[in-house]
Assembly symmetry: C2
Homo-oligomer: 226 residues x 2
DNA sequence: AAAATTGTGTTGTTTTTACAACATTTTGAG
DNA sequence: CTCAAAATGTTGTAAAAACAACACAATTTT
């Protein structure tokens, strides 16, 4: 099947065989499309008729608020999903922009077909729904984690807590962030230059070290968090 | 069935008949317990073996961070659910405190039984899973909404955006908040006295008005948000 | 390889926030 | 109803953040 090697790596179609996938392809009205770097894949406010899966490349999710300010919600990599919540809530508009940060191959699924398992025709549809659920709950967890970050009193605590989280996830005190400094400031909803100052101070104090997107957090910093 | 009038009002058992409920009761190992006001229903860090449903009364969800600071996550009312995400992610610890803010009647369900529909025995189990999913997606949406609030640059914008949201939800420019000023400050992660000052200023400018938990947002304020 | 664009760190200034202290009001328990 | 506890609004001060401007570095484009 076309692009199956990428499809099987996605969170939603994990554990699905090529045969089963074939059976579902028609039912889910699967479509594929390529996007060039820096092009808009989904525009905030447009009718949300499809669930979007990133098969190759990378993208970012952005939100434009009523003041026109743009904030970076998150970055997506191959296998990640966009617009799932809409399906379950029956919401008819995408609430964020999806922008290709690299050349992308994108898969579209009909959102109505996705959540209502069809009789007989496609066998493993129930497993897909279960996978979907997992994706949503994981996002839920990520959102709560970010919420805790943004609830911190000052930039210093936000940064330390974020680096601490990422370090835990990487399973090492050395780790890479998906963001450059400008993006990190945006992600943490703080001023870029203020973030830069804070990072420099933390480095000066020997609590952290960093180079480009590569970071190291010292044990001493962990202690500060206890 | 015991407490069925409350159970059928919950989000998870919406549309379930008393007969079906009866059939599920054993399978889900349903238990009931009463809690007095200001007592701890669930303690952060304890083993998460059950999903908690508030049948009567009110409760608040709090999180204690590594610094020992307590933040108010949300308030629950009759019919609301706690600890569902744990079930899906197979997480073994509750990540927040659940505290009764009034005398409560609480229902506990076995988390393992909840997400794995049992064969034959309880008929409408699949509908329950669907309801659960809806609950999670709705919470997801609420989390994203709060995230957008906390991303705002200053208290003024946070408050205006929050009041705007609540006004939309209420479908009127007059509405009640579930929080007093102290709790609102906590919810928005800002200093209480700073919030108080901001609210006073907004009232002085004629953008909003309020008395206790009752608020009114003026059209002028809406315009500021465009 | 050169040029243009974007990212980064630093500094000084202005604005906003947190913090602390207090008087007053409201709430809730007995 | 009374009294204690909690919530609220206000003020002044200290701390932190946002903002703006800039030089330099890194990256991307051509």
């Amino acid at each position: 099947m076309e692009n199956f090697s990428e499809i099987k790596k996605t969170k939603i179609f994990a554990e699905i065989s090529e045969n089963d996938m074939q059976a579902m392809a028609y039912c889910l009205k699967i479509k594929f499309k390529n996007y060039n770097k820096n092009t808009l894949i989904i525009e905030q406010g447009q009718p949300a008729e499809e669930v979007v899966i990133l098969l190759k490349g990378g993208a970012k999710v952005e939100n434009i608020d009523t003041f026109g300010d743009i904030s970076l919600i998150t970055k997506l990599k191959a296998g990640d999903v966009f617009g799932v919540e809409n399906s379950f809530l029956g919401e008819t508009q995408y609430k964020d922009n999806l922008v290709a940060t690299e050349n992308c191959l994108v898969m579209f699924l009909n959102r109505h077909r996705l959540i209502t398992p069809c009789e007989n025709k496609c066998k493993r549809h129930d497993l897909v729904v279960k996978n979907l659920m997992r994706v949503i709950v994981e996002r839920n967890k990520a959102l709560m984690e970010k919420l805790k970050l943004l609830s911190k009193k000052n930039i210093r605590e936000k940064v330390l807590a974020y680096l601490h989280n990422q370090s835990i996830k990487a399973g090492s005190s050395y780790f890479d962030l998906p963001y450059n400094k400008t993006e990190l400031a945006n992600y943490l909803s703080v001023d870029r230059s203020a973030l830069s100052t804070t990072l420099s101070k933390l480095r000066e104090e020997g609590l952290i070290d960093f180079d480009k997107k590569h970071y190291h957090i010292n044990n001493k910093a962990f202690e500060k968090l206890q």
